[in-house]
Assembly symmetry: C2
Homo-oligomer: 437 residues x 2
């Protein structure tokens, strides 16, 4: 199957684990069968390949996430890069056009579009595959997944089907209702709209050409910034008469808040921590080396990362955003295509970070106008290039890079270094990239 994963923007609802540059889908907090932890996007990708090892997966996302996606999913996954955020209709049009024009997928083939952040089991992806096969048949222009409600939720939109069969034509869409209205809908066999649908590529390309004046993927990409912000639901789904809906009645959770996230945790503690026996309903997610001790607490989430520490009553944790907005803070951790870095210390005229490069990866060849840097290799082997001069390096080596000098490092093994930045104007924006000959 062809599948487009919509990888949404950054958000602060899961602060301190998510922030302006680190989206929730990249936080490693789900236990894998082998005991390691994986992120939402890794979990979903693994589940897709388990159900269909030949699936063509394309992630539709913004430029800022490209590094993290390559870092977590490797190089086989396709990425449809949105030059800027323009809501789901332009994003899906661009990704569909990318599949057709760049990946060479036939316009007769079907595509399944799915958000990247549902917490689901393998049966969900089996259903996605069936969704794609149903779209292939061409009985309707769109085939939606309808999730069988487990309670009269006020949080979701509802799909009213023509009948109660596993596959049915859609009669109507309903906005998020109150509980009583939701109960009425459920009596009419209504299903939750989980934002998952399948279509033939030519259908969405047609819709895109109707609404946007463009020739091909490249052209659409180049004028992306000028496009109107509009959702796929509003631009396409609500106007379409020929829609089928397929029932899914397996486990399904959208992980938007700390409260729903902690429900998915198999064990109450991830990371270094102790919850004493006078606690109940306490979860710890700790990315720091230092231990957390919880005593006498009830229904509390504690999370610590290089960005900060959250201690919140679980219900209250949904209202986190305005408070987090108050923290004016520098980014303390970032995933890059070559690995990641963590800020260790901030002084007036220096910044100390730990850089971890993955084996075989390298930084861009770059220079800084306003700072010197000192690198001390503390693990692994590799090669530095400073102003064209190569040098093999290993644990214990010290490299001094004066401002203006071009430099990079290439990792043979996992390579860790302490980088001390020195200058009066230290900024992530002080960076000029060069080609490495």
């Amino acid at each position: 199957m062809n599948i487009i994963l919509l990888s949404g923007g950054s958000g602060k609802r899961l602060w301190p684990l998510s922030n302006d540059i680190r989206s929730k889908q990249f936080i490693k907090m789900f236990k894998k069968p082998n005991g390691d932890y994986e992120s939402m996007v890794q979990r979903v990708y693994r589940q897709i390949l388990k159900v269909d090892k030949d699936a063509v997966v394309t992630v539709a996302t913004s430029k800022t996430q490209v590094s993290a996606i390559h870092n977590q999913l490797g190089d086989k996954v396709g990425i449809s890069v949105e030059p800027c955020r323009r809501d789901t209709f332009p994003a899906i049009a661009l990704a569909t056009s990318y599949l057709h024009d760049v990946q060479g997928v036939s316009e007769e083939e079907s595509v399944v579009v799915c958000p990247v952040d549902p917490y689901v089991q393998d049966d969900y992806f089996t259903c996605l595959k069936e969704l794609g096969m149903q779209a292939d048949k061409g009985e309707a222009n769109l085939v939606l997944m309808g999730i069988k409600p487990t309670y009269p939720s006020e949080k979701y939109g509802y799909i009213i089907p023509k009948d109660g069969n596993a596959l049915s034509y859609v009669s109507e869409f309903k906005e998020k209702p109150n509980v009583d209205t939701a109960k009425k809908y459920i009596k009419q066999n209504a299903l939750w709209n989980g934002g998952v649908f399948a279509y033939k590529i030519k259908y969405v390309l047609e819709k895109a050409h109707e609404l946007i004046d463009f020739s091909d993927y490249k052209d659409l990409y180049s004028k992306y910034e000028t496009l109107e912000k509009i959702s796929f639901d509003y631009a396409v789904v609500e106007k379409e008469k020929s829609i089928q809906v397929m029932q899914f009645s397996g486990e399904w959770k959208d992980i938007g808040t700390w409260n729903t996230l902690t429900e998915t945790m198999e064990e109450p503690i991830i990371g270094n921590g102790i919850i004493n026996d006078t606690c109940s309903g306490v979860n710890i997610l700790n990315e720091l080396d230092r231990p957390i001790l919880a005593m006498g607490l009830h229904d509390v989430i504690i999370s610590a990362s290089p960005e900060g520490i959250l201690v919140a009553d679980k219900e209250q944790s949904s209202y986190i955003k305005p408070y987090v907005d108050k923290f004016e803070q520098q980014i303390m951790f970032a995933e890059k295509s070559w690995g990641n870095y963590e800020v260790l210390d901030v002084e007036k005229e220096s910044l100390t970070i730990k850089v971890t490069l993955n084996p075989g990866h390298k930084m861009n060849y770059h220079s800084h106008a306003h700072r010197d840097e000192v690198w001390v290799v503390v693990e692994g082997k590799g090669k530095t290039v400073v102003e064209g001069v190569e040098q093999t390096v290993s644990c214990g080596d010290v490299i001094e890079i004066k401002q203006g000098r071009r430099h990079t490092i290439i990792a043979d093994t996992t390579l860790k270094l302490i980088e001390i930045q020195l200058g009066k104007e230290i900024s992530v924006h002080d960076k000029q990239k060069f080609k490495l000959d």
Copy 2:
């Protein structure tokens, strides 16, 4: 007045701010009149000098605290260093002998002994002064401070006076009672025993010679390790017939647990933090750069330091010790005579720390058998000596020190450096000290 401050050992009851090498009396958590923060020992020392600017203050403590005391109180304070811990009778005997033999205080003069950790106002020290003056009169061998009870506490020993006057002879001592017995005592004018007393130097020297075979301070110091562990109460007070007690009815708190500590906080937050309006009775003490956000919590203490993070119901926080004992952890922060250091990063074969030297101070001249070090100066000016070779250093300078090579750094201004230790066996014990010629 002559005053001996008993500075107790390390403890974990205020973890993560106190630990094996950092005692609670050195944590800066009390707001000074000028808005800065000071530690218990700094607060008590400042209050003593306010009441009696000529007070001769001697801190009786262990070797491990000498650096921290000099760092926080300066060089004017006397220190009677206990070679090892031997309870209060040997400690008071040693400090008294130090005052007499080293400081040259006459044996006719009085001394007031006081723990270093009461949270009190200036009137307490006025009372200490009066205690000393009363001891000078020689009407009794010991003059105790009796604290007027504010409730029938089970936590304190009680002093039963002969009468209810402000100054009275002591009739009896009582161990920590239950509430009903405490109520009975209070009807008899009983007072809390706060561990404060005054005596003439010759009195304690006499008692010391009765129980210990020694000639002078130097001799007592040299055989300190062989002395029996015995409290001053048990060895002296309980056997003495001639004791007066002086009433003190001002504010008095002993700060032993998080619960009592938070009662002394003028503002609920020390450090970087937000307590949202759905919280009540929440205190934050945060030594980290990263912010803490508290939401929907009640009667909870949150404390974060380089050692770890505590989140505890206030009542529960008294039972912290067994849990903290479970953390096998390396020391992440230490005060030294020359400043302090903080561990920034721990890897298998490297340790990165930030070192801060106070102006005019220097490290010992030393070497390491099993590790190399790299210093990067990130603030200030000074001088390094490596194998006898001097070099002036300032921000941006890099100094590499191979294993076995003697080295030190001398700070002209406040000097900060990032030190990266490299080796397979990194340990604080790998250190050989030398004389700097």
